[in-house]
């Protein structure tokens, strides 16, 4: 007789329940820093669910990009702002807008629970059906760097333009600050800059 413990199911529900609980805490925590920390926790659990799906590359990318970089910037900003004054909360009109957006999102999520059927032709429409024995990284690499190479490069260029734009907007004139030119410092010749002097006692050195 065998009694199977549904490990995958238990793990899924563990991840999912922590994910939802921490997502609720993100919007209900009083302290914004705690909110960001809960957000990180929910990212983690999302990554765990991706692993259960067999999408290990996406899960690792989620952790590297969102937890390792984006959330750090969030934390930076949130920690820098002074939150001592208790917030007034949202104004009346904003509350209505927020409620509208929230209810639309909830409606969309409930559609997931309707019975869905994928079209019998859906499989032919797939650009790259995942071949057997290929890892996530290989399949994603094929799509991004071979099939849609140009589109991928263009999206990268757009991001580059955005970065340059952000830098130009915030760059201030630094004419008065003294920047260090390391090549100049390293390139100095000791013979020209240092003078060895034998000082006789009681006489000192005159400086010309």
């Amino acid at each position: 007789m065998t009694f199977q413990i549904p490990i995958a199911l238990i793990t899924f529900y563990a991840f999912a329940s922590i994910l939802i609980a921490s997502a609720v805490m993100v919007i209900s925590a009083k302290n914004p820093v705690h909110s960001v920390l809960y957000l990180i926790l929910s990212f983690f659990n999302a990554a765990g669910i991706f692993i259960l799906l067999g999408a290990e590359l996406i899960s690792m990318t989620l952790i590297i990009v969102y937890v390792g970089a984006v959330a750090v910037l969030f934390l930076f900003v949130v920690m820098m702002v002074d939150f001592k004054a208790p917030g007034e909360g949202l104004s009346g009109s904003l509350k209505i807008v927020a409620g509208l957006i929230g209810s639309v999102l909830i409606c969309e999520t409930t559609f997931l629970f309707c019975t869905w059927q994928s079209s019998p032709f859906a499989k032919e429409g797939l650009t790259n059906p995942m071949p057997e024995g290929r890892t996530n990284a290989h399949s994603l690499g094929d799509i991004l760097y071979t099939d849609y190479f140009l589109l991928f490069q263009v999206s990268g260029l757009i991001l580059l333009v955005a970065i340059i734009g952000a830098i130009t907007l915030t760059l201030r004139d630094r004419t008065r600050s003294r920047t260090q030119v390391i090549s100049e410092q390293v390139g100095r010749d000791p013979k020209e800059t240092v003078v060895m002097v034998k000082v006789k006692s009681g006489q000192g050195v005159s400086h010309d």
Binding site: M1, F3, V33, L57, T61, I63, G68, V72, L75, M79
Partner: protein, 347 residues
């Protein structure tokens, strides 16, 4: 009833026990290594500065780490009144746990790995990018200016150098064609990557010094300005966990260097004498060598200024590594050479 119990035992209990045993077999030696790394550091720096280092506790001072541990355990854990207590306690635990968790994918010998995952390199990169949270949380939760400044410095520094570490890893992965750490090592059977990728090796070594907050990039704990940086409010075991986490991270980064550039557990030449020595010994020897570089640098170089540190990361390493990435990709495309093809590790 007993049948059910036996079934559960053979299908779940026993495999679980084996996994636990594997973890213990890795973590216990690791913690002993961490303890002795502190001793090794004090000895090496001592000799480099013409001192003896610890020499009173036990023969050659060998019991010094235990003396330190006992001393730390007997001290009181101080919780600052204005501190955010839960996060304050979580921060050192997180730092220490992360430094141990990463070892799950490190192959210390042929087949000697707890979990041989497909995306091992990314897993390591993800875990090392999380290390910054322990420090930020500690700095923020302490509610102290010094700790906070140290934490912010550290966060900015670690993010900056992660960029170049990421690009260097991408260079190596281009040569391997797989994200699996065992494949990375097996791809170096003919030639260690340190030779074709020499400049990247240098960049990587310098970047891991910055990533682990070690001298000459130890600004987060610059004693002179910040009294000790992010861990100034910590005492006793909470401090010890930070300390152990830092050293475990050093060992982890050395292991990563060994795997990416120094051929992991492979001997330098394929001859019968070298093959007789087990792979674990080679691995440990290479890790010890990289750790020695850590200590050597600490005893040799003065601390960087903060703007110099940022300049090095963003204006020197980032363009250099990107350039080298393009060169590597071009060479591989033109010659059609990849290590995985030459050794046939990958299908």
């Amino acid at each position: 009833m007993t049948e059910l119990f036996m079934g559960l035992w053979s299908s779940y209990g026993f495999p679980l026990l084996i996994i636990l045993f594997k973890i213990m077999a890795l973590v216990l030696p690791l913690i002993i290594c961490v303890a002795y790394l502190t001793y090794f550091e004090r000895k090496v720096i001592g000799y480099m500065q013409l001192r003896l280092g610890p020499n009173t506790v036990g023969p050659f001072g060998l019991f010094q780490p235990f003396a330190d541990a006992i001393k730390l355990m007997h001290k009181e854990i101080i919780l600052p009144t204005a501190a955010s207590s839960f996060i304050f306690i979580m921060a050192p635990i997180l730092t220490f746990t992360l430094s141990l968790v990463a070892w799950a994918v490190i192959p210390v010998g042929a087949g000697l790995v707890i979990s041989n995952v497909n995306v091992g390199v990314l897993y390591l990169f993800a875990i090392s990018s999380l290390g910054v949270y322990g420090i930020i949380m500690a700095g923020w939760a302490s509610n102290s200016k010094y700790a906070f400044l140290g934490a912010l410095r550290s966060a900015a520094q670690m993010i900056s150098y992660e960029v170049s570490i990421g690009v260097v890893i991408a260079c190596v992965l281009l040569c391997v064609g797989s994200l699996n750490l065992t494949d990375v090592v097996m791809a170096q059977k003919k030639i260690w990557f340190v030779i074709p990728l020499m400049p990247m090796f240098v960049v990587f070594i310098i970047s891991i010094l910055a990533e682990t907050n070690r001298a000459p990039f130890d600004l987060p704990e610059a004693e002179a300005e910040l009294v000790a940086g992010y861990n100034v409010e910590y005492s006793s075991m909470t401090f010890a966990l930070f300390f152990l986490g830092e050293y475990a991270n050093m060992i982890l980064m050395s292991a990563l260097t060994t795997i990416l550039f120094l051929g992991g557990w492979l001997p330098p030449f394929q001859c019968s004498f070298f093959s007789m020595i087990p792979g674990v010994v080679w691995f440990a020897a290479k890790v010890a060598f990289v750790l020695f570089i850590f200590l050597w640098v600490r005893a040799t170089f003065p601390r960087y200024r903060y703007d110099q540190l940022m300049r090095l990361g963003w204006k020197v390493f980032l363009p250099l590594t990107l350039l080298w990435l393009v060169i590597t990709a071009t060479v591989i495309k033109l010659t059609g050479w990849t290590a995985s093809m030459s050794t046939g590790v990958l299908s």
